[in-house]
Amino acid sequence: MRKNSARQYAVALYQTAKDAGKDELPKILNNFTALLAKNHNLKMAKQIIKELITHAKEAEGINEIEITSAKSLDNKTIEAIKKIFGDQVESRETIDKTIIGGIIIRTKDHILDASVKTQLQKLRQQLI
């Protein structure tokens, strides 16, 4: 039998648990744990939880972005950035002094690089 990946488990769990009532949920979770035990897949639990969170966010249309900047940004700027990426956006901010200025925004599949560091590098390439 082909092994199920963590993502497949997560998708299955999400789909069953999504519309379940309050009373059903413990039963579903019990069954799910039993299934994992039966397939000797309990060690994948951590990954499954991670996948479940990403999948749930995807399914509910929540975008996750990561904003990297040289200085900490104020809330207004962050809100403005979030608005560009849709209605439901969760952001994570990190500070990286080496980019000198500007911001780098990272979505699931793309990197939008508007940092001073990259632009200086490009200018250098153009001049040499």
């Binding site: 990946s5 993502r7 990272r106 699931k108 599949d109 793309h110 990197i111 939008l112 690089d113 508007a114 990259t118 632009q119 490009k122 200018l123 153009q126 001049l127």
Partner: protein
């Protein structure tokens, strides 16, 4: 004046900087989920194409081979020890391609086109994709021009034409590479570019080969593509495709190219390794299901193109190493069925001193006969017949001592023919001399000579011919053959016999 120019430069620079566009870079990225054994798996990169180059941190490149539901599997070209889970991988949007051009001639490069001979950096204008669909039917034409290998036995009995694919197959240590190298050496002054692709060979052997090519002046028209035994499987796998891409550039200029792949069994091993690591299902001998396509798509790129499509040709000489003469193994049968003929080299013959250790009985060339020059066709017909008769009588002759005169004559002739087809390595022979010497022996001019002394006799014969009959040899090499030429040749042989 100097100050002025500096001011100018500053002005230019200012303008340049002012006009510099501050674009926001958008890049598609993915994350490594698994890395090791020269392959990496990653998530993300939803729009990645098959065979696309991927950029890993630290300047390492990879090629996307497996596009799956959630993940992408790729082979890494080069160092991968610094990569770890969670690293970002960028799409490049480029299909794997190699630099091509005249600058590569005389160089030793790796399959990515970077020099490995310690010479200067190679800067070419053009890049060709490594994988390309072979030319179609409408652009091709039949093989008509010969590739002179300079080896008597091959040029006479298994002729190769420009645009043909002729397999060289045999056990280890039977002189497969020697045949290919001699062929490359013999292309001097014949308007042919050669590409020698060394796959998974010892670097010491390559160094020796390159030195030999240099010594013979063959590096003036040769490119060596080297993927050594210590290189990762991914580079071994792409090496022949890189080589043929470099060859295609010259074909597009209307030139004739000779491509040697030494050897394709090692490439198949490398591909098997990659496929198993990428968890593709194994088939016969653990090779993946598309191992036939691996070689067919490569060899199909050898072709003779017609004038309307720009002309030019690529002749392919793939080499396959068999294990103790087993040609029924998976890879040998595959490649035999793809190519237009094969040259079988046998260790038995090699140890008996018959070098090149060619098995004339089972070696064939399916299209080369059309490309043979007329004089060679004439003398080779007789040679083939005499050899076949000799092979039949040979075993029988070992048992009986008293034979009738006819049989004895056949055997005497046969023994001398076997001797005359022997040829030392790195000594390719011009086609005129080949025709002359084969004509002389098969018409019995050497019957009085002891088989052991044939070599000496041959040297004297060539010496005599080149000294006194250069015009005749040139005529033969140009493809002229009529009664007058034959008469001249016969009288030359008679003159030599008298001496």
């Amino acid at each position: 004046m100097k100050l002025m120019s500096i001011a100018n430069i500053v002005e230019e620079l200012k303008k340049n900087i002012a006009s510099f566009e501050k674009n926001v870079e958008t890049e598609e990225v993915g994350l490594i989920t698994e890395v090791g054994d020269g392959i990496a798996r990653m998530s993300g990169l939803t729009n990645c194409q098959s065979n696309e180059m991927l950029e890993f941190p630290g300047g390492t490149f990879g090629v996307a081979l497996n596009l799956e539901n959630e993940t992408i599997g790729s082979v890494l070209l080069g160092e991968y020890k610094h990569l770890k889970e969670g690293d970002t991988v960028k799409r490049t949007g480029r299909i794997l391609s190699v630099p091509v051009g005249e600058e590569l001639i005389g160089r030793v490069v790796n399959p990515l086109g970077q020099p490995v001979d310690g010479g200067v950096e190679i800067k070419t204008k053009n890049f060709y994709p490594v994988e390309k669909i072979a030319p179609g039917v409408m652009t091709r034409e039949p093989v008509t021009q010969p590739v002179q290998t300079g080896i008597k036995a091959i040029d006479a009995m298994i002729p190769i034409g420009r645009g043909q694919r002729e397999l060289i197959i045999g056990d280890r240590q039977t002189g497969k590479t020697a045949v290919a190298i001699d062929t490359i050496i013999n292309q001097k002054g014949k308007d042919m570019i050669c590409v020698y692709v060394a796959i998974g060979q010892k670097e010491s052997k390559i160094a020796r080969t390159v030195a030999k090519l240099k010594e013979a002046g063959a590096m003036d028209y040769t490119i060596v593509v080297l993927a050594g035994a210590s290189d990762p499987a991914s580079t071994l796998y792409i090496a022949p495709y890189a080589g043929v891409a470099m060859a295609e550039y010259f074909m597009d200029q209307g030139k004739d190219v000779l491509c040697v792949y030494d050897d394709l069994s090692k490439q198949a091993w490398a591909y098997r390794e990659i496929s198993l690591l990428l968890r593709r299902p194994p088939g016969r001998e653990a090779y993946p299901g598309d191992v036939f396509y691996l070689h067919s798509r490569l060899l199909e790129r050898a072709c003779r193109r017609n004038k309307e499509s720009g002309g030019g040709s690529i002749t392919a000489l793939p080499i396959i190493e068999t294990q103790s003469g087993d040609v029924t193994a998976y890879i040998p049968t595959n490649v035999i069925s793809i190519t237009d003929g094969q040259i079988f080299l046998e260790s038995d013959l090699f140890y008996r001193g018959i070098r090149p250790a060619l098995n004339v009985g089972i070696s064939v060339s399916r299209v080369g006969a059309a490309a043979q020059i007329k004089p060679m066709k004439k003398v080779a017909g007789k040679l083939k017949l005499s050899m076949a008769q000799f092979r039949e009588l040979e075993a029988f002759a070992q048992f009986s001592s008293d034979m009738d005169a006819d049989t004895l004559k056949q055997i005497t002739l046969g023994q001398r023919l076997v001797e005359i087809l022997k040829q030392p390595q790195y000594e390719p022979m011009p086609v005129g001399n080949q025709v002359a010497v084969i004509y002389a022996v098969s018409n019995g001019f050497a019957n009085a000579i002891d088989p052991k002394e044939i070599r000496e006799w041959e040297l004297k014969f060539h010496d005599f011919m080149t000294r006194t009959h250069t015009v005749l040899l040139d005529k033969i090499a140009a493809g002229n053959w009529d009664e007058a030429v034959e008469k001249d040749l016969r009288s030359a042989c008679e003159d030599f016999a008298k001496k």
